[in-house]
């Protein structure tokens, strides 16, 4: 790609960008949200047309008018938000749009080839499982298999690790290396520095629509250097945390069991206390019950036995609204699905739980003045980047949607905060900000449950760390006792690691 320029109204998204990738190479494209990486890749993938510049593929200049054209030229893209049909099986999803003879669908053939691919690249998957039954990591595997199935010589991965656990990242990196061996050219979009550092052969850093530099990934490259190139200033990785001063138990989970969506036991006898002013991290591989734990606590899922108490009072049978009233706040894992209503404006989303209260409404009628003041105040205080409070929330970037949710939840002055994957898919600056806000809440005496698959995050923030495996708490460690290796072993279900 040479001298690519792409303008959007008011934005120069790509300013004379030159970028290349070779066969058998993993090339990382690094940059903050809005740096122009996505736009560049959308141009390559045929979703956008460049205003200037040219794309050269295997020595020939090409123009892609649609993703179908780039697909035909051997370019595949794995999006951050998966393009899978939830109600179809893995095989059916891979077969989508691949009608072999134009009339019938050779599902058995697809299934066989799928299994071959999964064998070659080490991508474990049950071809007959429905997508909705799969964890995020497994769904991503399906996406990769889909791209490989279509013979993608050049595969773009848009923040592939944003949704994965350490083990899954490990597996993914093996897969990517395997793909590199097979001669695929891989573009790896990310803002997770150490993964870029571990995985790629070359790194291109973008900022504000321009390429800052393309560098080989050698010994001179480290996290700090990359972060500086990316953000343009030095970045704080380890937020400073005042010493722990935990108060009374705010949230108490006792012998809790629950079923998952498929009706299988997913939480077994979970007990956990969280005190005012402490952050308890829940570490675990995706799909080991942490999502369900958060849902049972917040009232979105029924428990089959056990109890949950908030401030000493059982809330097990309380409806969601009563739990919110009792001081529970929840930053949900799937922020687009649970956390906001995309078509609602930022203002409408800011009062999602509190719209029925003064001053936002009096009787049945809204007080738009109060809502405007409140939402503009949130936008300012939490530095939410949005054209206005009237903008539909779906138009905000992932990081800003997360800030909006955070702003809304924290301004309700919660006594207990459940934060599920609070920085997943969020860029460095926003992550830095969200971490500082969580620590500030801790200082203000909020009891915080931090559910995260990012061990760096768990280690950076938690006072205690509970490891969950197959629905059970394997062990709870104090921060001092925990390191990546021990946690990793525990996350794999190794109880002997618990000292």
């Amino acid at each position: 790609m040479r001298g690519i320029v792409k303008r959007f109204p008011g934005v120069l998204a790509n300013d004379h960008v030159t970028f290349d990738v070779e066969a058998g190479e993993i090339h990382a494209l690094l940059g903050e949200n809005g740096a122009g990486k996505s736009t560049l890749m959308k141009i390559l993938y045929g979703l956008h047309r460049p205003d200037e510049g040219q794309i050269v593929l295997d020595g020939r200049e090409v123009t892609f008018h649609s993703p179908a054209a780039s697909l035909a030229a051997g370019i595949g893209m794995i999006h951050q938000h998966f393009m899978l049909v939830q109600t179809l099986t893995v095989t059916e999803n891979v077969a989508l749009g691949m009608n072999t003879n134009g009339v019938t669908l050779d599902l058995r053939g697809v299934r066989k080839r799928l299994l071959e691919i999964s064998e070659i690249y080490g991508l474990k998957i049950n071809p007959d499982a429905y997508i909705w039954q799969l964890s995020v990591g497994e769904q991503q595997r399906v996406e990769i298999i889909k791209a490989l199935y279509r013979g993608g010589a050049l595969i773009i991965l848009d923040e592939p690790t944003a949704v994965l656990t350490p083990q899954e990242v490990e597996e993914l990196s093996d897969t990517l290396k395997q793909m590199r061996e097979q001669g695929h050219a891989l573009i790896f979009i990310s803002h997770k520095l150490h993964e870029v550092r571990d995985l790629s052969d070359r790194i291109t850093v973008m900022r504000d629509g321009r390429v800052i530099d393309t560098i080989p990934n050698d010994d001179t490259v480290d996290r700090r250097k990359l972060a500086r190139m990316m953000v343009g200033r030095d970045v704080v990785f380890q937020p400073t945390k005042p010493p722990l001063s935990a108060g009374e138990v705010r949230l108490s989970v006792r012998s809790l069991s629950a079923d998952n969506d498929q009706g299988l036991l997913c939480l077994r006898d979970v007990s956990l206390d969280v005190r005012a002013g402490e952050i308890v991290g829940i570490a675990g591989v995706s799909g080991n019950g942490q999502r369900e734990l958060a849902e049972v606590i917040t009232g979105l899922r029924h428990a089959t036995s056990g109890d949950v108490a908030l401030g000493g009072k059982s809330i097990l049978h309380a409806p969601v609204a009563a739990r919110l009233e009792a001081g529970l706040a929840f930053i949900p894992e799937e922020r687009h699905r649970h956390g906001i209503i995309g078509a609602f404006s930022v203002a409408e989303n800011a009062i999602l739980q509190t719209h029925g209260r003064e001053p936002f409404s009096r009787g049945p009628f809204f007080n738009f003045g109060a809502i405007a003041r409140y939402s503009n105040d949130l936008i300012r205080r939490f530095n939410i980047k949005t054209p206005s409070a009237k903008t539909p929330a779906k138009n905000l970037s992932g990081g800003n949607i997360q800030k909006l949710i955070l702003a809304r939840e924290l301004s309700r002055s919660p006594s207990v905060l459940i934060a599920a994957q609070p920085t997943r898919g969020v860029d460095i600056s926003a992550t830095e900000y969200i971490h500082s806000v969580l620590i500030q809440q801790r200082s203000e005496g909020v009891a915080i449950v931090l559910i995260s698959e990012d061990l760096d995050e768990i280690l950076a923030l938690s006072d205690r760390i509970a490891v969950i495996y197959e629905g059970q708490i394997v062990g709870i460690l104090n921060r001092e006792e925990a390191d990546i290796e021990t946690l990793g072993l525990m996350m794999a279900g190794d109880t002997t690691a618990v000292s």
């Binding site: 109204p9 979105l300 969601v320 609204a321 799937e334 404006s345 809204f366 405007a372 009237k390 138009n395």
Partner: protein, 385 residues
């Protein structure tokens, strides 16, 4: 006014809606063009046919009043449909809700007419009509909320039940005693007492107070949906059940409520038609209004205020087509075909508009996920049973 627009994205008819309004109008014209071919095939002169139609709908004051009279029930039904769609339920049952509303209003008026004094009996009759339709809407609402039964199926089935119920009542329990005495046995009820009739606005035309009831309902429902917490919750449930649950909004409750209100407005349409126009229930009363009402709502972009011009247009189409049928002797089926064409063209144009707005959004906001526009959110919900 700035703050008023906070929820504005869909509450207001913005500048972009200009295209959104022109496209459906063009669609209507195209439908009429295809209809012209149909008329040609039948040996009629399409230009003559359409000028008769136009004349029949707007030609003189009487024609205009006929159009407005016809638009009134369509408007009320369409407003109800808007509520249901905004609440994430697809109500195909307006037809049945209208029948039940009209029948309950008739029964009430006949029974209570002699005992309740003048303005109150009319008001109560309308209220009973609303409640009848609401009850008919509540059944699929509760089935959906409680057992997740697909509301498209149940509302359609409830239509069938209502039609048979109507036939039974009009030929049995509610038949006009006069019909039995004379031995003619025509399926119709007795005439309502005059005290429950809606005032006529411009006799001898049939135009009645119901028109203003419709216009007032449009404003009330607009305010309800965008200015009250109740409407906020209905829309929240309609847009994202997951997020609504997360926010502590009771999804079953507001889902059912949306269908109850929707059915109530269809029932009100039925009682307005009885008390305003026919003054009795007859077999074949208001047949097809419930379905036209859905089209009116879609054409009005699922906005209660948008339903006003939309209902007027469809009222004109219906009245004009009847005149055409009478004057140039085309079979009545032609009129139904014409309406069908309009529906197909308008609904397809809706798709074009949606794609157009999505592209515009995509261009304006590089990183934003491209999601379809407003009515998409209503049709977004799972139609899986």
């Amino acid at each position: 006014m700035m703050t008023r627009r906070l929820f504005g994205q869909r509450a207001r008819l913005s500048a972009a809606d200009l295209v959104v309004w022109i496209v459906p109008l063009v669609a209507v014209l195209l439908a009429l063009a295809v209809g012209a071919l149909l008329l040609l095939a039948l040996g009629a002169n399409p230009i003559e046919a359409y000028s008769v139609m136009l004349d029949g709908a707007f030609g003189d004051q009487a024609a205009l009043f006929r159009t407005l009279t016809r638009a009134t029930p369509l408007l009320l039904i369409a407003i109800g449909i808007c509520i249901a769609f905004r609440g994430g339920v697809i109500n195909i049952g307006a037809e049945g809700q209208l029948f039940v509303g009209a029948v309950s209003a008739t029964a009430f008026s006949l029974a209570a007419g002699p005992t309740i004094p003048a303005p109150w009996i009319a008001i109560l009759t309308l209220l009973v009509g609303f409640l009848g339709g609401a009850a008919w809407g509540a059944i699929p609402g509760i089935l959906k909320a409680r057992f997740d039964v697909n509301e498209i199926l149940t509302t359609v089935m409830m239509n069938q039940i209502a039609i048979q119920l109507l036939l039974f009542l009009l030929s049995g329990p509610m038949i006009d005693p006069e019909q039995i005495r004379q031995g003619t046995r025509i399926s119709q009820s007795a005439q309502l007492p005059e005290s429950s009739w809606l005032p006529r606005l411009a006799p001898p035309s049939q135009l009645h107070l119901g028109l203003f009831i419709g216009l007032a309902a449009a404003i009330v429902i607009y305010v309800l949906l965008w200015r009250t917490t109740l409407g906020y919750r209905i829309r929240a449930v309609g847009l994202s059940k997951d997020a609504a649950r997360y926010a502590g909004i009771s999804v079953p409750r507001y889902l059912t409520l949306a269908l109850i209100l929707s059915g109530g407005l269809a029932g009100l349409a039925g009682s307005v038609e009885v008390t305003g126009v026919t003054h009795r229930m007859v077999e074949g009363f208001a047949v097809g209004y419930g379905f036209s009402g859905i089209v009116v709502a879609l054409f009005g972009r699922l906005h209660p205020l948008g339903a006003i011009p939309s209902a007027f247009l469809f009222g004109a189409l219906l009245v004009g087509a009847e005149k055409m049928q009478r004057t140039i002797q085309v079979p009545s089926a032609t009129v139904i075909a014409l309406q069908g064409l309009v529906v197909i063209f308008v609904v397809s144009s809706e798709l074009l508009v949606r794609r157009w707005t999505a592209r515009r959004q995509a261009r304006a906001l590089p990183s934003a996920p491209v999601l379809p526009g407003v009515p998409a959110s209503a049709s977004h919900q799972e139609v899986s049973a």
